[in-house]
Symmetry: C2
Subunit: 645 residues, 2 copies
């Protein structure tokens, strides 16, 4: 009989990952995906381990691939790949991981590049709201106590704060943490009864959370956090100046459990430990970014006393550890939209333990705090004229309205614009094609890539350009069907007809970069979903397209989106270009303003309660609009007068 | 060279404790006190390890005691004892621990014995205040959500609470913990949209902290906690009924670091680790009592959602981990008197993690939350007539006043009345003499002991009786000087003249029970301090003794104090007996009412701010009164018309 230790040893298998040359010992029966994670290699996984997306494809080096699991892309199986998520380890193995299966630290739109986005009209940090930050630093000097005046330190501090701090009006309670009280007395006495007092200005009242000697007191710091499904962005702010001290961004570590919110919700709902994995994944992502920002700016985690978090409703639920399952189930009732203030220590964030973690309020299951932050940043709700806010990511959310009313909706655009579900799709990292033209004669493509590297694939803005260019060049008809002209660019691939955009000798990988007919149909469905949403909102208030005086485009496209192409494919309304405005990541901009201005935060709460959400699945109107939008640019050409049919 | 492990082994010494027969290995250089603690034997230690009180005296079995450390009682040194706290371990040792050095689990006045204390006028749980407990249990049933009405669960719960709960007025914010929100949705859906909601009613607003299925929902529970310097008492309450479900009490585990507050403050101020030891000692004491009460009542820690804590200002500071050093240093400024609400998880209490831990407000460094609770319980502040509240423990605190004004003071009575600093003093445990008479002819003592056991020593009420009896029998004169009549009862001891109260053949230990002249002087100083305090308060408002219409006596004496004797020795004012009222532990009674009635808690806050503290060390008046009170009953006999000179 083997000892328990020997028995455990007997069930260990070694996996070597190439070209990394890294080996790891795991229990027999583990998946290759888990083994790679154990070896510190993060694989992509859009489907959340279902074996269907093909993103985690790897090659077994010393045994054949065997039959393909159901749903695994045929072309990958033919090329000898297996899905790491569905391949269990029975014996010692050597595995090759292609570059395309690795999770890439991609360039994240940290908030703007205001320079490129809004040269003329800079987006101010405060967005026009009063500078009333969520944390105040107050220097107090108390009278030395005497036997005649020996009130306790806290009472005397309270009197001083009531006198000094404009926010400390009589009707607002002032409290303190025990830890801050413990710091108070020693600091006062060692420093001539003077101290720097840090006060949180929360909806429920004021709270003293930190006391320091005046000469060691950093400015009050806060972080604005945007938790996107794909990327997470953090900005570290000096709330007093106010000023952005550092920016950091990376992909959301939850991506290993699925690319889209639905996959993650299902994963989290399977068992509590999995919900906790998702929570930890995003918390560790945020913590890493905060650490990075702190290192850049030269401060410590204890110096950050507040975090303002924006994100879609699913991200906010998973971040707080709230059950998210109801978000995907009719009637789509989230646990909460107005989240209570929590503490850094409660959530495991590496800020000051008492730091307040405040969420931007959401509106509904698919109109989250990111959209409320975006509306705050857009300023559209302060205008008399009609405006449209469109945030395009995996979901397309949009808000239509003015200072009197707001209607909102969300439509599933799918992962195309984030580079998912498209043969040559990729995120906006080095080598991604951002813009493209196709010569109608030769069908040769002219591309511009991020970093001017050899092209590796197409990111969101490149795909929109590409769809437009294919149509202009006559490669596809209005329905997206290939018009095979007999040139070598057209061929039959594993997944049906495909068009070679870039030949292998010019591409980064050496393989041809192709667009399949299925890719084109996918893109048309995605753009159709967005446009049908716009139409549904307009229909709800019986307005026509031309009444849109301002269109704010938010989201990862940033300044790269070619508005002419987006109109030409029928994704965005055909109104004059000058009515369009790109604002990049409006979620972080709104969160930042809410951090710097309690007035802005209150306005965000007002906006959230003012928005009426149109449930697109009710009635047949949206579906009819969607079907009509499945043409380039649209079934009804009168909607796109500037586009030739 | 020895390995690090061997080196560590080389510095280990073994100590065997007798008569327990327990051995323990400790590092060379440790004290015997620490070694005993490591062996699970708790020694007494009034001086907090200074080597002066003699309470931790032990005998070395295989080597001589050596010279006495400075301050160690001569009589103990002569008898071969050493102080365990000052004896370091250089070699393997065998040590004998006498019974008198052991910390005794003594009988704690759990709150009353209302039967004996107040036969006619029972103290009601609510003390006449409205029943508005600090935690509410609310059964809600929400409408099932639909696509047309798909507001989030928390919004819908909020509407229901606003409608159902009288306390949820529009001006009061309602919030929730993240954990409660996480419980909410699943509970609602698994139980037909019904749930039991537990809501904290805090000064800052209402807070949902727990959600349970209706059929698994216990009544809302709370604990009232009285943290005394010597003893800690806990009562577990069903807040809805309202009803006391269980009572538990024991000695404060901090006692091992010193008997009185000053010794503990000094110990805590020496280094942060020692402050943390004190905090942990009291927290573990409270946790043990809570566990005991829960076991009795058959509930779980998670069912307790609020704790209401009373204690003197030092106890409250040490319990919260606040620096207490300023309490003992002029001008006696505590960190806080109005403590913020904290959470069980923050303090390490084994209640529900989100349970609110609320402190009764204190008034000043030596007039704490226990006195505020006591005044609440006494009802004196609601009367038109003048009343006096006296709480006699190590400190004597007293409050004088009526419904219009209140003055308070604290005087150091010393540890006598808790059985400390007196040769035969002991706490009110089995064998303690509670009352005594001495035959003026034979000088033979007649005693009554707790549990009717053989007498072991004198507790507080016994000492007051004893002082009175010694005077009545002519053993001492008015100044407390022995009047040696030549009988065998008088003799010269190690510490000067002593009087043998009980001969060894009748005592529990077999040793004579004696009272020394020094003991008598000590007791006179203690009673003098109390009476001088009463006089100082009366002088402050220019009232005479006879205007006292009601005198409430609180504290550990309970019903055992003989009021005639207390007047005869000049400790309490000479007013008719029927004006006196014993209320036992008023601190726990006040805490209990504050838990059951937010109205009572607000009243406690009013009382705390209404009390004017007379600082006795200011001016010479108190010292003059004290000196005048160092006679039996007093220098000015006109103050004690009922007592013969």
């Amino acid at each position: 009989m083997p000892s328990p230790e020997e028995a455990r040893e007997l069930t260990r298998r070694t996996v070597r990952f190439e070209p990394d040359g890294v080996s790891v010992a795991v229990s027999a029966g583990s998946t290759l995906l888990a083994a790679a994670a154990a070896a510190g290699i993060e694989l992509r996984s859009a489907c959340g381990g279902q074996g269907t997306c093909g993103q985690c494809a790897v090659r077994l080096l010393d045994r054949p691939a065997g039959p393909a699991p159901p749903g695994f892309p045929v072309r990958l199986h033919r090329a000898g790949y297996v899905p790491a998520c569905k391949t269990t380890i029975d014996e010692d193995l050597a595995v090759e991981i292609p570059a395309s299966s690795r999770q890439v630290r991609h360039e994240v739109l940290l908030d703007d590049d205001e320079a490129t986005l809004l040269a003329e009209e800079q987006v101010s940090l405060l967005l026009g709201y009063e500078h009333r930050p969520a944390v105040l630093r107050q220097i107090v000097r108390l009278e030395p106590p005497s036997l005649e005046g020996n009130a306790d330190d806290w009472s005397r501090l309270l009197s001083a704060l009531r006198q000094q701090v404009p926010e400390a009006t009589d009707d607002r309670p002032i409290t303190a943490t025990i830890r801050a009280l413990a710091e108070l007395s020693a600091t006062l006495r060692a420093h001539g009864m003077q101290a720097a007092i840090y006060v949180l200005d929360l909806p429920a009242g004021l709270e003293v959370v930190r006391v320091l000697p005046v000469d060691q007191a950093p400015p009050p710091l806060g972080v604005a956090v945007d938790i996107g499904t794909t990327t997470v962005v953090v900005q570290l702010l000096d709330l007093e100046e106010p000023e952005v001290l550092a920016r950091a961004g990376t992909h959301n570590r939850q991506s290993r459990y699925g690319d889209d919110v639905i996959t993650r919700i299902i994963y989290a709902a399977e068992q509590p430990a999995q919900a906790e994995q998702l929570r930890e994944a995003v918390v560790s992502t945020v913590n890493d970014l905060i650490a990075q920002a702190l290192a850049t700016a030269g401060f410590a985690g204890d110096d950050i006393l507040v975090a303002m978090v924006a994100g879609n409703t699913t991200m906010q639920h998973l971040f707080l550890g709230l059950p998210a399952d109801q978000i995907r189930l009719e009637p789509y009732v989230p646990v909460a939209t107005n989240y209570p203030v929590s503490r850094a220590s409660e959530l495991g964030l590496t800020l000051h333990a008492s730091a307040a973690v405040i969420q931007l309020p959401a509106v509904a299951s698919y109109v989250g705090g990111d959209i409320v932050a975006g509306m705050l940043a857009s300023g559209l709700a302060d205008q008399e004229d009609l405006g449209l806010f469109v945030d395009i990511g995996t979901n397309g959310e949009m808000v239509l309205g003015n200072r009197d009313w707001l209607v909102a909706c969300a439509c599933s655009a799918g992962p195309c614009f984030e580079g998912g579900g498209i043969t040559a799709g990729m995120r906006a990292t080095s080598g991604a094609i951002q813009s493209i033209t196709i010569d109608p004669e030769t069908l040769a493509a002219q591309v511009r890539t991020i970093g001017n590297s050899k092209p590796a694939g197409l990111c969101g803005s490149g795909l929109i350009d590409c769809l437009s260019a294919l149509r202009v060049a006559g490669v596809i008809d209005r329905a997206g069907t290939f018009q095979d002209s007999g040139t070598a660019c057209f061929r039959e691939g594993d997944d049906g007809p495909e068009f070679v955009l870039i030949a292998g000798d010019e591409s980064a990988s050496g393989d041809d970069i192709v667009v399949t007919e299925a890719d084109v149909k996918n893109l048309i469905r995605a753009k159709g979903a967005v446009f049908a949403g716009v139409r549904a909102l307009l229909a709800a208030i019986e307005a026509d397209m031309d009444s849109l005086v301002r269109v704010v485009v938010a989201g990862g496209f940033g300044s790269h989106l070619n508005i002419a192409d987006a109109i030409r494919i029928g994704m965005l309304p055909d109104v004059p270009y000058e009515r369009y405005r790109f604002m990049g990541n409006t979620s972080i901009k709104g969160a930042r303003a809410a951090l710097l201005s309690t007035q802005a935060y209150r306005r965000a709460q007002e906006l959230a309660s003012a928005m009426t959400v149109i449930e697109l699945s009710l009635g047949s109107m949206y579906m009819e609009e969607f079907v009509s939008a499945l043409f380039l640019p649209h079934t009804d050409l009168s909607l796109f007068p500037s586009v030739e049919g």
